[in-house]
Amino acid sequence: MTGSDKTGLTVGQELPKLSHVPTATQLFRYSAVTWNPHRIHYEESYAATEGHPGLLAHSHLRAALALRCVTEGLPGWRLVATDYRLRRPATPGMTLVYGARVTAVDGDTAELEIFEEHPAGVHGLEGTATVRRADKEAS
């Protein structure tokens, strides 16, 4: 892996951050569109019975936001893989900041670390994303 090349990406380069505050309405709509009836996402009193600090943002919603940071920050590149772990729960009203930083560049492929930062400065989600220069192949 090289530090920088004709791709224009440089190891250490940070993509523009994406700040997002999830709402209960967004969680409800995400549950609806994914047909996810898990009560921890839309029934706060039930979430409390499981010991959660509030409604829980869906893991896939949080991943989708983290991946938006990558796909919107790298037009002309295509996401080909991701690997992430959830470290802490996220609840409505929290300001979640999604970021990505280039960690390796090799020809037409680049690796990035991705994260979700919480107001306390800790990461709620950490992982990697692999992107490849898009060649406009039709699907």
Partner: protein
């Protein structure tokens, strides 16, 4: 965090004993046709404003056959088709699947690995192959838990793979149980 069987006599121990021997089980099912409204609603909900998700003309101009799904849509759909009747849902609201023994447990997504091989576009018929990959009991700071990893391979009827994702869910005893 160390590998350790859940405390004997708890719902988590029962679940672990039920699931552990099933590692390697594989099922394939048809999920139906991915439609444009689902793609557009998903994009709207996650705030993805690229018109390739909502406007067929924009999608075609970008080289897609129709509107294209955001990268993790296939993995995120919890139930396909009409889903489970309410009176058949578990107390936490989730449907009973192949893990009846886990009905009383708390459940939360823990992470995922996803490889996107090809884009999923509106009108595609989708099949899912599911493999129970691993069932691992651990003792964590938050107490005993069982990590269940499942490999999901989404493909079209002709066998073309769209994406592979390995999802890990953490199961814990009900609140108040050690």
């Amino acid at each position: 965090m160390s590998e350790a069987a859940p405390p004997a006599g708890t719902p988590l121990a029962e679940y672990y004993a039920h699931m552990r021997p099933r590692v390697g089980e594989r099922h394939t099912r048809s999920l139906g046709v991915l439609d444009a409204v689902t793609i557009g609603r998903y994009a709207l909900t996650i705030g993805a404003t690229d018109p390739v998700h909502t406007d067929p003309a924009a999608a075609r101009a970008a080289g897609y056959a129709d509107v294209v799904a955001p990268p993790n849509l296939l993995a995120a759909i919890f139930e396909w088709g009409v889903g489970t009747p309410e009176d058949e849902l578990k107390p936490d609201g989730t449907p009973v699947r192949n893990d009846d023994a886990g009905a009383k447990l708390r459940s939360m997504g823990a992470g995922e690995q996803m490889e996107i091989v090809a884009d999923a576009v509106a009108g595609m018929e989708i099949l899912e192959e599911e493999v129970l990959d691993a069932v691992v009991a651990k003792d964590t700071r938050g107490g005993p838990c069982v990590f269940v990893s499942t490999l999901h391979i989404f493909k079209t009827p002709d066998g073309a793979v769209l994406n592979r994702n390995r999802r890990t869910v953490v199961r814990r005893n009900p609140e108040g149980v050690a």
